[in-house]
């Protein structure tokens, strides 16, 4: 009865505005509040998926149709069939977005536009007999990145945010390739790994900042996972293997993996915990194989690794129960 009394008082306070739902969230230390219409939201998510799929299937159909007739198409038709259709799809998506009941349908058209516009630009360049150099590709993808950033700022669509990240990533790699095409960097043979390391860290920070954005939570999981895999994967690879190991990265890696595991309690993300644990296990296996398998023998080394895995697994489950049980 005490509990019922308490709940009745809380409900009354909520109705009178003395406390808010946000106050209840902060008190209970829960990061997400399940929306009241969660069932309805699930249905909407399924329809979004169908719109995305529809757009992709339309793109595949166009690509196959145009591809079959490619040799018979004139230059102008080639550009119209790719870049023209892409731009038309983008504009259609923008126009549909102005209607409340057709807003979500616009997703399909934006997907078609996103898939066709980059390819269409390269088709136009090919038709115009312009050499596609690395510098030109870099410029095109940087322009696409800027285009979708502006699109996101104007229309606030998750798809545009995703495309901004995608084209931004492509631009980053192409730009650094362009800078280093006739020379070598101070990173030497590990230049690609350092690029991926920096990008992974950027993804993790962006994933963390997207959590607070009302419209972007669906991207948070992808950004976190890709970011952690890139960051820890690159750090792991930079450690190298005996006899060419990099002592600095071999020593620092367990700290990074443990740091990611610790961060899972702060950012309330299961991806951090799971991936950090997997990489830590991988590191233990690697170090054991590298330094202990010959001295103590493989069987004993495997025993050590097994016990270490059991310990790490127990720790991960304990952390999950204590800090992340409320996270979906």
């Amino acid at each position: 009865m005490e509990k019922q009394e308490l709940l009745k008082n809380i409900r009354a306070s909520l109705e009178r505005g003395i406390i808010t739902r946000q106050d209840l969230v902060e008190m209970s230390d829960v990061t997400e509040v399940a929306p009241e219409s969660s069932v309805a939201k699930r249905h909407l998510d399924i329809s979004e998926i169908l719109y995305y799929l529809g757009g992709i299937i339309v793109f595949i159909g166009i690509a196959i149709f145009v591809g079959e007739k490619w040799d018979t198409l004139g230059p102008a038709t080639k550009v119209l069939a790719t870049l023209g259709v892409g731009i038309a799809a983008y504009v259609s998506g923008v126009l549909l977005s102005t209607y409340k009941n057709l807003e979500r349908m616009a997703i399909g058209f934006h997907v078609i536009g996103a898939l066709l516009i980059p390819g269409g630009i390269f088709v136009a360049l090919d038709v115009a007999a312009i050499d596609i150099t690395l510098g030109l590709s870099t410029s095109i993808f940087s322009a696409l990145f800027a285009f979708y950033v502006v699109s996101y700022l104007v229309y606030k669509r998750n798809l545009f945010l995703f495309l901004s990240v995608l084209f931004g990533t492509i631009s980053y790699f192409l730009f650094t390739d362009y800078l280093t095409q006739d020379t070598q960097t101070i990173f030497g043979d590990d230049f690609s790994l350092y690029r991926i390391l920096v990008l992974g860290l950027a993804y993790m920070l962006l994933g963390y900042s997207f959590r607070a954005w009302e419209r972007a939570p669906s991207l948070v999981g992808i950004m976190n996972s890709v970011g952690i895999i890139s960051f820890l994967g690159a750090s792991f690879a930079l450690g190298g293997t005996s006899p060419d190991q990099n002592i600095f990265w071999e020593i620092i890696f367990p700290g990074l993996a443990l740091g990611i595991i610790f961060l899972s309690t702060q950012v309330k993300s299961r991806s951090y915990l799971i991936l950090g644990t997997i990489f830590l296990m991988g590191y233990i296996f690697k170090i054991t194989a590298e330094y202990f398998s010959e001295s103590i023998g493989w069987p004993l080394a495997l025993v050590l690794v097994g016990f270490a895995f059991i310990g790490i697994g127990y720790g991960a489950v304990a952390l999950n129960k204590k800090y992340l049980k409320s996270v979906k």
């Binding site: 590709s137 790699f173 390739d177 020379t183 350092y194 690029r195 990008l199 993790m204 900042s209």
Partner: protein
């Protein structure tokens, strides 16, 4: 915009930009400031070995002994493979000479072909690192999958002259049909012509 709340976003966006700026500065700053210039040219050779190379066995093996280019005649006969114990020998193949020699001008980044007779007059330092601390290094694949798809050349297999914080790609001559970077053999730095 509340800057304090958006620090992760700002740092996340700034990191790739800073990486690009850092790479650009580390490449172009040494070049802009002049920096050290290689003082020594080097001698290299190519031997083909690709689809255009005629069948046969190279007549000479080339090397550097002391500070001079030398060559030794390679045996062009071999034990009869059908009867290894027999005293008779059979030709290993038709003798061929595909070697070509080039002097690489490190200031102009150009190659000039020379004959073996001219090459053997040069005084060479066969160590990989020159007396002014430059060395010939092999390129690595700094290109990404995006470079492959969207244009640009794969760097793997290129050669560089590197030292004093910078590296310059070598514009080498290789024989038609040869296997690219396999067809480059550094012989030595030219200390005296």
């Amino acid at each position: 915009m509340n800057w304090k709340n958006n620090i992760p976003l700002i740092v996340g966006l700034a990191l790739p930009v800073l990486m690009i700026v850092f790479v650009a500065v580390s490449i172009y700053l040494p070049q802009m400031g002049g920096g050290a210039v290689p003082q020594y040219d080097f001698l290299y050779m190519t031997q083909g070995g690709g689809v255009n190379t005629p069948p046969g066995v190279e007549k000479y093996y080339y090397g550097v002994e002391g500070d001079k280019l030398t060559r030794q005649e390679v045996a062009t006969t071999m034990q009869n493979p059908k009867d290894p114990t027999a005293p008779t020998v059979v030709p290993a193949g038709k003798p061929i000479e595909t070697a070509k020699f080039y002097i690489y001008d490190t200031k102009q980044n150009t190659s000039r072909e020379v004959t073996f007779a001219d090459a053997e007059k040069l005084v060479l330092d066969s160590r990989m690192v020159s007396q002014d601390s430059f060395e010939i290094t092999q390129g690595n694949n700094n290109g990404s999958i995006f470079t492959e798809i969207f244009g640009g050349n794969r760097d793997y297999g290129s050669w560089y002259i590197s030292g004093h914080g910078k590296a310059t790609k070598l514009i080498l001559v290789s024989q038609p049909g040869s296997y690219g970077y396999f067809d480059f053999r550094f012989l030595g730095w030219i200390t005296q012509k």
